[in-house]
């Protein structure tokens, strides 16, 4: 058998060294491939925007419209999409509403598509959801005063509270 030449021996050494290096690097890589535990807290944030049906973002108060003949007949003024709430939250949330003072007798509120609930000084859940961005349309009914034929309530203050659910 012919002995390998000096160049071939050198090539073998280089190949062996390269393989050894690859194995060593591989082993090191395996050793370095450890599970790293990273802990962080995702901050739960919430934002609430209130907009009246007019779409005017600068106006967050509202004037009750005059009663129509239909309103007088049925005994209430109904305003659908009167109020819009935009909620953004990265955790489950809820919005509760209540009357700031007991002057809101007979006023009903509902999330569009839901059932009307009486607005009283006791809070009730108007809407809730999981994390995400939501647009909530709110309808209301205000009773018509039989004597004057106009809205029975002149002034209302609604407290709208958003919180983690």
């Amino acid at each position: 058998m012919r002995r390998p030449g000096r160049g071939q021996r050198w090539a073998r050494w280089v190949l062996a060294a390269a393989l050894s290096a690859a194995v060593v690097v591989g082993v090191t890589a395996v050793e370095r491939s450890v599970t790293v535990q990273i802990r962080w807290n995702v901050l739960p944030y919430q934002t609430l925007r209130v907009e009246w049906g007019s779409g005017d973002p600068s106006s967050i108060s509202y004037v009750v419209r005059g009663a129509s003949a239909l309103d007088r007949e049925r005994g209430y003024i109904e305003d659908e999409n009167a109020l819009r709430l935009d909620v953004i939250s990265n955790i489950p949330w809820k919005v509760q509403v209540r009357a700031a003072a007991p002057t809101a007798e007979g006023i009903l509120l509902r999330q569009r598509g839901g059932e009307y609930a009486r607005l009283t000084a006791e809070p009730h859940v108007l809407a809730h959801g999981r994390n995400g961005s939501y647009e909530i349309a709110v309808d209301y009914r205000i009773p018509v005063d039989g004597a004057t034929g106009e809205a029975a309530v002149e002034s209302i203050e609604i407290v709208c509270t958003i919180m983690p659910d």
């Binding site: 925007r49 973002p57 108060s61 209302i156 609604i158 709208c160």
Partner: protein
């Protein structure tokens, strides 16, 4: 406090503020409005120690806002309503050891204000205590006004405590689709945070028929929380089933409860002198054709209403539980009415 712990605390604060700044920036792009950068705080304290956390209120609306900040107690009712109470009036309130600064802010448009919450528990405090910081935006003048409030909940856990949990009941309260109600209680003194669970339904051979995830929830010390989850389909085949609820409440051990339920074969007969047997005309498991005349219509609603307490109806409840609450009541008549008029589910 050592320089090293001060450094750690400082770097934590930097990371936290960087993240909050990122969120605030993102929120500004996402929507204008008023917001709080943190809606819930979980604060760990040593007995007799102190801690401080902070959050931002931002105003991306066109006008200036007057913002009042105060501390309250809060409690939940079984129907999910949260009541705000005077500070320091409820058991395990931490309102008395919270100091906020400032308590009044004027926020111009596109400006944010910071609120700092300082907590200093008494040396005897152990376990989780809670309260809330209310951020209230004054309502503008007008006939109909909206006053906005944000409730930032604060949970303060003092000392090293061991969480405890127990499943106090598992029940089947709907057949089509299956509805399982579970009650988890917290007999310990530490908040069970983000408890997750799963309800599994097995047949008598131990084959898992369905797994229903239970979304995460918190259980305050001493509180019982009821959760109802819906499975994907009904249990129609008569037999014995095992329903098990398993919860992960953040320790090495899990906690579970189970119940065996028997689904009997239907034992139908004509209801109230009707001509035929009640029938399920569309194969959905509900017997809308109560009077057995071959149609599901208004006459079935009236027949059902008239014979709601008939033994045939009551002993075959799963065929007539149209509102799927596990009981036969007048609300099932209303649910049937919606079905036959085409507005039901």
């Amino acid at each position: 406090m050592t320089p090293r712990s001060r450094g750690r605390r400082h770097s934590r604060r930097v990371v936290r503020w960087a993240f909050a700044a990122f969120l605030l920036g993102w929120l500004r792009i996402a929507a204008a409005g008023v917001g709080v950068s943190v809606a819930e705080f979980y604060v760990a304290l040593e007995p007799g120690g102190r801690n401080e956390v902070s959050f931002s209120i931002y105003n991306d609306e066109p006008g200036s806002l007057l913002v009042e900040v105060s501390v309250v107690d809060w409690e939940n009712t079984a129907d999910g309503v949260t009541y705000l109470r005077s500070p320091g009036t409820l058991p395990r309130s931490c309102a008395d050891w919270i100091r906020i600064s400032p308590d009044l802010l004027v926020l111009d448009p596109n400006v944010e204000g910071d609120v700092t919450i300082g907590l200093r528990p008494p040396p005897s405090a152990r376990g989780t205590y809670w309260a809330a910081v209310v951020v209230e935006i004054a309502a503008p003048a007008g006939a109909v006004r909206v006053r906005r409030q944000f409730v930032v909940k604060v949970y303060a856990t003092v000392g090293r405590t061991t969480p405890a949990a127990a499943v106090s009941s598992v029940g089947l309260n709907g057949w089509n689709p299956i509805r399982v109600t579970v009650v988890l209680e917290n007999p310990g003194d530490v908040l069970l945070r983000s408890v997750t669970g799963v309800a599994t339904v097995e047949d008598r051979r131990g084959e898992v028929l369905m797994e229903i995830p239970i979304p995460a929830f918190h259980v305050l010390p001493g509180e019982r929380v009821e959760r109802t989850v819906r499975g994907p389909w009904p249990l129609r085949t008569p037999g014995i089933y095992l329903i098990r609820a398993v919860f992960d409440f953040g320790v090495e051990a899990l906690v579970a409860g189970q119940i065996a339920v028997r689904i009997d074969p239907l034992d139908l007969a004509p209801v109230g002198g009707a001509v035929g047997l009640p029938a399920d005309r569309n194969g959905d498991g509900f017997y809308e054709d109560v009077n057995g005349d071959g149609r599901g219509d208004r006459a079935d609603v009236e027949h059902f209403r008239a014979h709601l307490w008939d033994p045939v109806i009551q002993r075959n409840a799963r065929a007539f539980d149209f509102d799927n609450d596990g009981r036969i009541t007048l609300s099932d008549v209303e649910a049937l009415e919606r079905r036959v008029s085409g507005s039901g589910e």
